[in-house]
């Protein structure tokens, strides 16, 4: 049964929904810029094409780490997506699966850091070290923001968090709204999208940590990012909107919440310039952490 969950929900469903999300992202970006944008199947074709290309390993790179890094990253995403799906639809989960989710969500960033440092390219190392700084910057506010639903639900189990929002979602309260704003900006950084695409920065370090990846390695990294693009909004919906509700009119709400979060992320990405790494760290440790702490205090007061 675990195997079915992992393969069908963790991998297949997440990958398909993630690729569709990435198409929405590209299409909205194109429309914002008055372009037509790619056809619907484009993200799928990209992955198939990359899988068929040659894998080049840079001279002097540490071969094993270079090849294993994308696999580590994608297994992290599959694990966390499975955990969320199972909590959503099938079973009760276990005590503290919230903590496990937070842990597993850091693995994709770690895999990018590993891959970047293993590829023996100065630009890739630069990208990896920037990614590392970015992780340090956004983890604190992200955990604080994710703590608000835990305080509201009085439980550290995701299924209890979902159930306790049956009466009213946490995004309806003041603390929930503040935490949601912080969490969306942290998701922006977790996905490495503009304005926090500092580790990739096409125009200055040409793709950063992924510069040396080609063929299947790049395909897996892209797939991982697209899956993360579905998983992170899904996690936010579980935390703040009571999960995916698929009964009656609630289907419409769920789709609206999901598309709304993705659209906000895409619009932020299209209307902002890239910040420097020190500005990003200051932004997350300053205002974002403060807002998150305020939200936590409000949640403790029951607001």
């Amino acid at each position: 049964m675990t195997f079915v969950y992992l393969l069908v929900f963790g991998f297949a469903a997440t990958a398909v929904l993630g690729l569709i999300t990435s198409w929405i992202d590209r299409k909205v970006t194109a429309r914002v810029q008055y372009r037509v944008g790619p056809p619907f199947l484009q993200p799928f074709i990209d992955i198939v094409k990359l899988l068929g290309k040659e894998t080049l390993i840079p001279a002097g790179a540490s071969k094993g780490t270079f090849l294993i890094a994308p696999v580590i990253g994608i297994s992290g995403v599959i694990a966390v997506a499975t955990l969320l799906w199972v909590n959503q639809f099938f079973s009760e989960g276990f005590m503290g699966d919230w903590i496990v989710t937070i842990y597993l969500l850091a693995i994709p960033s770690l895999s990018i850091i590993l891959g970047g440092f293993a590829s023996r390219n100065p630009l890739a190392s630069l990208g990896a070290s920037r990614e590392m700084k970015l992780v340090i910057a956004y983890e604190l506010p992200f955990i604080l923001a994710a703590l608000v639903p835990v305080i509201n639900a009085h439980s550290i189990r995701l299924s209890v968090i979902i159930d306790s929002q049956a009466g009213g979602v946490f995004a309806g309260s003041l603390s929930g709204i503040l935490a949601l704003i912080v969490a969306i900006l942290c998701v922006q950084a977790k996905l490495a999208l503009v304005p926090f695409d500092i580790p990739e920065a096409e125009t200055e370090i040409v793709g950063g940590a992924l510069i040396e990846y080609s063929g299947p390695g790049l395909a897996i990294f892209r797939l991982m990012k697209n899956m993360l693009f579905f998983t992170l909004p899904f996690f936010l919906i579980i935390l703040f909107f009571g999960g995916l509700r698929l009964n009656g009119i609630n289907i419409l709400w769920t789709v609206l919440e999901y598309v709304g979060i993705v659209a906000i992320i895409t619009v932020i990405r299209n209307t902002n310039p890239r910040v420097r790494i020190d500005q990003a760290v200051r932004f997350f440790w300053g205002p974002m952490t403060l807002i998150a702490i305020v939200a936590v205090v409000l949640a403790l007061k029951g607001l």
């Binding site: 590209r26 008055y34 372009r35 944008g37 790619p38 068929g52 290309k53 040659e54 040409v206 510069i211």
Partner: protein, 141 residues
């Protein structure tokens, strides 16, 4: 036609390489990305790293300095890959034919799949050229 090639033709990511051009061709390449032409409709993306590329767009007259880099970069493209010579310079060296600095044209150095003449070629001409390339590769197999 194999699935591999079919997918490649549906999502050709282009890398843009200047071998001593006057920069005019390069600017016209960037025009293809603008809203008026929007080559992302065909799945084309301009990528920054040669390792991500499927199509190499070469501009310029291949002078002595850049030929070495050109060879190194051509070896680094993950195969299968296609090469497009953009502009009269890349096609036949144009007005630099008798220059001491441009001993051989591009197609004597690496295999070229399609030539797009013009000084510089219009973005429409480039898109037409790439469409021809896709037809040629797609039809011959």
């Amino acid at each position: 036609m194999s699935l591999k090639l079919k997918a490649l033709l549906k999502s050709p990511w282009v890398f843009h390489l200047s071998t001593g051009s006057c920069n005019n061709c390069d600017i016209e390449i960037l025009d293809c990305l603008t809203p008026r032409f929007d080559i992302e409709r065909f799945g084309m993306l301009l990528v920054g790293s040669i390792k991500h590329a499927d199509v190499l767009l070469v501009t310029g007259s291949c002078n002595r300095m850049s030929v070495e880099r050109l060879k190194v970069l051509y070896e680094q493209v993950p195969k299968p890959c296609l090469v497009v010579a953009i502009g009269t310079c890349a096609g036949s060296r144009g007005i630099f034919k008798d220059s001491y600095n441009c001993p051989v044209p591009l197609d004597k150095i690496i295999p070229v799949d399609v030539y797009i003449p013009g000084c510089p070629p219009k973005p429409e001409a480039m898109i037409a050229g790439v469409v021809k390339l896709i037809e040629k590769v797609g039809g011959s197999k």
